[in-house]
């Protein structure tokens, strides 16, 4: 099975490079590698784990229970239920940005979440 290169950019500027299989969830690999990222529902719903693509990239988000075309159009990724379909560069800790975009688009969204490192 093909592995993709996934680079995470954290708010403090640190980066982590991961190899993620096409059948693996990105957040599973993140945690396996001992990287501390926020998450909560692990079902692609609460948006706590949101990241955002830097540049182009393809992600299979079909395992998410609530993911809108508007989320995808803006490059948002729900890491807990995301499988890579190309090499990716992702800025992490983007929950508030996704929340605000959904509100602006009139879409339903949880409003709260962990505020660690936000």
């Amino acid at each position: 099975m093909c592995d993709y290169n996934v680079e995470l950019i954290l708010p403090d500027g640190n980066t982590h490079r991961l190899k993620v299989g096409a059948d693996e969830l990105i957040l599973d690999v993140v945690y396996r590698e001992g990287i501390d990222l926020p998450s909560m529902c692990l079902m692609g719903w609460c948006i706590t784990c949101t990241g955002q693509l830097v540049g182009e990239g393809k992600v299979d988000q079909s395992a998410s229970l609530r993911y809108f075309p508007e989320d995808a159009a803006a490059g948002f990724v729900l890491l807990c239920t995301a499988k890579p379909r190309s090499d990716l560069q992702i800025r992490t800790h983007q929950r508030i940005a996704l929340r605000d975009r959904r509100i602006a688009c009139g879409l339903p969204t949880p409003r709260g979440g962990t505020y660690r490192l936000e």
Binding site: C41, L42, M43, W45, C46, G112, T114
Partner: protein, 206 residues
């Protein structure tokens, strides 16, 4: 006369616009506005779960043991909603005026009746819902531990019941789906939805 070090502080005498109980949390590093938002999401999840479990239990006919346990979880989720809602207002927050907005922002997915509604598929939905609740209340505990004992105490009590609910549905689904025994360690509640950890006194929350 000895100084009374707790007799004054950031909230001036007579100021009704601030609460010492909130300012003390801020001083300890709690982002109160974010916590309020998280609690509203969590309360929304408890409320929607209570609603959806009402439907799920209807389809457990013939599995009366499952039905009763689903009913316990349903009523206890309502107790969680009742327990945490006053705290939201205490902190200065409020529930959305429109119940549609409340449901839309729930922090956990809708526990829809599965198709087909078999005992196994319903138990799977119930288990997923409880697991989301366990993660949510653990998060609230993490954010408030050592800083906000009142919210922490409520979240901790809710979490204890959510953990029990998860154990119930693991036990039932394990036998129903896999034929495996995985005891929860629990027996039935004394009364339906007894909420042994989360229920307020009868006067306050009958």
């Amino acid at each position: 006369m000895a100084e009374k070090k707790h007799a004054s502080g950031i909230v001036a005498s007579g100021d009704l616009t601030k609460r010492v109980g909130v300012e003390q949390m801020r001083a300890r590093g709690v982002d109160v506005e974010q916590l309020i938002e998280l609690l509203i999401d969590a309360a929304g999840a408890e409320f929607t779960t209570y609603y959806y479990y009402t439907i799920l239990r209807m389809y457990l006919a013939g599995n009366e043991d499952y039905k009763e346990i689903c009913e316990d979880a349903r009523l206890e989720d309502r107790s969680h909603f009742e327990l945490i809602t006053p705290r939201i207002y205490e902190l200065g927050g409020s529930l959305p005026r429109d119940i549609r907005d409340f449901a839309d922002r729930a922090g956990c997915p809708d526990a829809y009746l599965p198709d087909p509604p078999t005992a196994e598929s319903i138990l799977s939905v119930l288990l997923d819902a409880e697991r989301c609740a366990v993660r949510t209340w653990n998060e609230v505990c993490d954010l408030t531990f050592g800083k906000d004992p009142r919210t922490y105490d409520m979240a901790s009590r809710i979490l204890q019941e959510e953990i029990e609910h998860e154990a119930w549905f693991i036990e039932l689904l394990s036998m129903e789906r896999d034929g495996d025994v995985r005891p929860s360690g629990h027996f039935r509640r004394g009364t339906p939805g007894a909420s042994p950890y989360s229920k307020n006194t009868g006067f306050y929350n009958p």
